[in-house]
Amino acid sequence: MPHTKRFGVVGMAGMLLPALLVVMVPAQKAPAQNFSPRSTPASIAATTQNNATTQNNATTAAQGQNGAAAQNFREVMDETGRTVRIPQPVMRIVSLAPSLTETIYALGLQDRLVGDTDYCDYPPEAQKKQKVGGAINPSLEEIAHLRPDVVLVTKHLNTLDTVHSLDALGIPSYATDPRNVDEIVASAKRLGEVLGAAEAGAALAEDLRRRLDVLRQKIGTLPPRRVLFVVWTDPLISIGKDTFIADALRRAGAVSIIDSKQDWPQVNLEEVAHLQPEVLVFAESHAESTLQHFEVLATRPAWRILNAVRERNFAVISEAVNRPAPRIVTAIEELAEKLHPEAFVEKPAADQVSGNTVADAKCLCAR
């Protein structure tokens, strides 16, 4: 029946959106200049006479009548290759993705965040910010009403439509597109630079890299554990090898047994039973419900074929692993500790207390 199938297509499209988004075309009429990914400030006052007549969200009161540019702009290239003109200094930011909101807080720029999406829930203070709707369908009116200097979007969540609409309104939008953990760190640092908090950005990146290095030292030589990252169980959905989540798993000393080019492949249970992962990894905000759910899985004959199910080898980590934001490093550390507990022991082996290293209600990992 048409409406059912139409809905199914919508659902599928909504999920394949990351794969469907193409490189966005340049929207500004700024003269083409070769910018390296590291932006160089340029004063644009003279060249923006014809641009200034477009609707402008200038916040300074000294704006001239016929749009003679009374404030500075800076041209930067975002992570999708678009050239974006951002007013300086950046005082009003709207974030259209939870990961971007987290990054802003991590950069200490939360006072300049004037609006975010309904789903921006971390840190908790972010929930008090003015909401502009969902990530996929934000309210353009709300955004315009907030008069932002720049709107932050990310390619894996937001849509081309939104960006085009913002362009039509003359609101600059800066897009990130981190594909792995390194890029997440670099993206955070770059965001700091673009938003006028270069020092904070550098410090943040430094800290994240340091933590990742420490991790690498601890577990880099250990053989990675074979895991299945479970996104959904009915049907079974995991993550593709090119996703940042897969990269995060690698940093945590694990390797996803699913080798697929799709971002969210539906996986055949037979395949998993054949590969016999050591550990099942869940990313949940509520460990209790995952525990329950796992017990439910353990009653099914098909799932009981998995050693990991029968022996209760599963790990629950923070949902932060699903977001390309600084907090993903915390999730990586969390997972590394659960998968390689012996690498995190503080005392020498002689003093080891009986089996109490990672006595964690969430994880029932056993070697």
Binding site: G14, I258, S260, T299
Partner: protein
């Protein structure tokens, strides 16, 4: 003049059963894990004779516990949808009718989604909790059946046109609610739901559910089959059927409830697998004619064969990932539909 005889019906059904058997065997063999059919057969016989002895080998477990249940589920779903589709096409006197046209599948989907949202907040025994989603789906389907029934009546009886209108409207309304719920949760919270809604046989179920499904199929398909002769007459027109002795209100009610029941059962375990209920009856009609005494059983076999083939292709074509069976039936079904349409017009 060659009227239908039991012998001919039996022969046709046996032929189709044979094809189904072959398809099932091929499906058993196809998959990520290599299976030796000889060894499998030997183990199967041993299990049956010893009443469920242990199958030790790796492949054996995989085949018996994952592949075989999935294939059987495909047989059930295919047969149910095809029979339901045949019933609705006769009931609504509309060759474009499929099992979902009266909104049952959307009701089931909504029930499943609500069950999913509710279940973390309840503490139930694991085995019971696992039944919550199919149960929710079935309750959603049942509620929709009742609602559309009351909407579809005129002067106290089911009227085909009113039923169709009521069903389509209800279905649209439910689809809107589903869309609202789905878009109001981002992240992985309900992402998996979209895969399920596309039509999926890969959900593994508790064994008890299979018994319920088969019982439901026998009841539903059996009930529709008792009206087979009446449905033949219905094809000539409702008034004519009445003058030829068909108890129209009773037949309509029986077919409506039975076909909706079959659809509800199928959707509550596998989402909305499309095109099977619409096209299998047409194909069987081309081969075997419009006599429902033949059409109903052959459609059941045909649906089972179609779904098992589609599912087998879906799970072997892009390992380790798989394509949902609903996507496969749509890929095959749409061109087939166009072909059938043009044949009729030619």
């Amino acid at each position: 003049m060659r009227p239908l005889t039991i012998q001919r019906l039996f022969l046709q059904c046996t032929a189709l059963a044979g094809i189904l058997f072959v398809v099932v065997i091929i499906a058993l063999k196809a998959g990520a894990v290599e299976v030796s059919l000889f060894a499998l057969g030997r183990d199967l016989i041993r299990v049956i004779v010893h009443h469920g002895g242990e199958i030790k080998s790796d492949y054996g477990l995989i085949v018996m516990n994952i592949r075989l249940p999935r294939i059987l589920l495909g047989v059930f779903v295919g047969a149910s949808l095809a029979v339901a589709g045949t019933g609705f096409q006769a009931l609504l006197r509309n060759p474009l009718a499929d099992p979902y046209v009266l909104g049952v599948s959307n009701g089931a989907a909504l029930g499943a989604i609500l069950a999913l949202l509710v279940s973390p907040h309840l503490s139930l025994l694991p085995a019971v909790a696992d039944l919550l989603t199919p149960l929710g789906a079935f309750l959603g389907a049942a509620a929709t059946i009742a609602a559309v029934y009351f909407l579809g009546r005129r002067e106290g009886q089911i009227d085909s046109t009113t039923l169709l209108l009521g069903g389509v409207i209800t279905g649209s309304f439910l689809a809107a609610i589903i869309m609202f719920l789905m878009t109001s949760e981002t992240g992985s919270n309900l992402r998996g739901m979209a895969y399920w809604l596309m039509g999926n046989l890969s959900t593994s179920l508790q064994p008890s559910v299979y018994w319920i499904l088969w019982l439901g199929f026998l009841l539903g398909a059996g009930a529709i089959y008792t009206t087979a002769s009446d449905l033949n007459l219905l094809l000539s027109g409702e008034k004519e059927a009445m003058h030829l002795g068909v108890d129209l209100p009773r037949v309509r009610l029986v077919v409506y409830i039975a076909a909706s029941l079959l659809t509800g059962l199928a959707v509550s375990v596998s989402g909305s697998i499309g095109y099977v209920g619409l096209l299998v009856p047409h194909v069987m009609r081309q081969i075997f004619g419009s006599d429902h005494r033949v059409l109903l059983p052959t459609a059941a076999f045909g649906g089972a064969i179609a779904v098992v083939i589609a599912d087998t292709i879906g799970r072997t074509v892009v390992p380790p990932a798989e394509l949902p069976v609903g996507a496969m039936t749509a890929l095959a079904g749409a061109p087939l539909f166009i072909y059938l349409l043009r044949r009729r017009m030619a």
